[in-house]
Amino acid sequence: MPDLDDRLRAEFRRDDTAGMVPAAEVIERVYARRRTSAVRRGVAGAVLVGAAALAVPVVVTAAGDDGATAPVPATTTPLTPAAPTLTPSPPGETHVPLGNPSPRTVAFPGVPESFKVAENPPDQPFDVPAGDAVRYWVTPAGSPVAGLVWVRQPHTPTGLPGLVFELPPGISGDTQTLATDDPWENVLHMSAYSPSGDQDFLIVYGGDSDARKQVIVSIIKAAFG
């Protein structure tokens, strides 16, 4: 009996062409499978793109919902006026907001230019709550009001002393505002609650009620309208 090595060589090297398909047919089958493979890849790519197109809005919506409770990063330019976070839609196109806007990362916008930043709190008989940030503005002599206080994200609920007054409808957009004016202390208080989770507390002091209301309406329109 021959050695196993020789038997294996003979078995593997036997010249048996039974079952061998002609070369032209093999090549044609290879090309056909290549075309089928390309079509499959194209379909798979289209399905992938479609799935991504469906998934992106869902992810964006989810991220927007989470953004309301996300921590707000610190800012190094606290007094820079910011553009509104929601850009208006082009005319003739329906605006569909994808979730809530992300929280503001800059200071309160809409403060009139005539107001100047002050380092120290005003010597006035009202309480200023603590918050993530507190800014003070004063006005030049002869202005209709004396100054403005802004508290970002107040840490404690603060009362709104005085009489509630109605703001013009629709001026604050999606932001909910509540304002009171105290004609005896010459102080106007306003709390604003944005859908993004931002909360602002404003105090306008000095001057008469009409002047304070005009100032706060102007700020609300610029900041939220």
Partner: protein, 172 residues
């Protein structure tokens, strides 16, 4: 891509490639399928294969890797095609007389990797390092695989081996 060169290569190399595929699979139909899988991959990578200058070697290595690929076996199983030829039945006395038929049956019992090592050793006369590169294994693993495969074949070819293994004692 240049179809003419690829078609010339496929036409000229088809007998050698088919022999290689049949040695790996042991079945003409399975060999044809394996050959087409390998040629498809060669065609996809044809520019690089042509630059390399050894398309036959590339195709053979591709066949070896495909044959021992678990993914390919799973795909064939899902497609309802036989993963490998059915295991050989217990050789009859007539089969034992026909050595070649007997040996083919025993080869079908080997694992794809064991069979690939034997094919590359006895058909291609490849050294351990070449086989290891083709199978993505270490040379020592190749040697061990070949040793086990040969030991299994010798044990099955020895008529006394299976009886002893089954625990059947010879009559006095």
């Amino acid at each position: 891509m240049d179809r003419t060169e690829f078609e010339e290569f496929a036409s000229a190399g088809l007998p050698a490639l088919f022999r290689h595929a049949r040695a790996l699979t042991g079945d003409p139909q399975d060999a044809q399928d394996l050959l087409q899988d390998a040629l498809l991959r060669v065609w996809r990578a044809w520019p690089a294969v042509r630059r390399d200058g050894n398309p036959i070697g590339y195709a053979k290595t591709t066949m070896v890797r495909l044959h021992s690929s678990a993914l390919r076996r799973m795909r064939r199983r899902l497609a309802g095609r036989p993963v490998a030829a059915p295991p050989a039945e217990e050789p009859s006395a007539v089969d034992r007389v026909d050595d070649r038929h007997h040996l083919r049956g025993l080869l079908m019992r080997l694992t794809p990797t064991q069979r690939a090592v034997l094919v590359m050793t006895y058909l291609e006369d490849a050294d351990d390092r070449t086989i290891a590169v083709a199978l993505r294994r270490r040379p020592s693993s190749v040697r061990a695989t070949r040793s086990r495969a040969l030991a299994k074949l010798r044990a099955d070819l020895d008529p006394a081996g299976p009886r002893t293994a089954r625990g059947v004692l010879p009559h006095a």
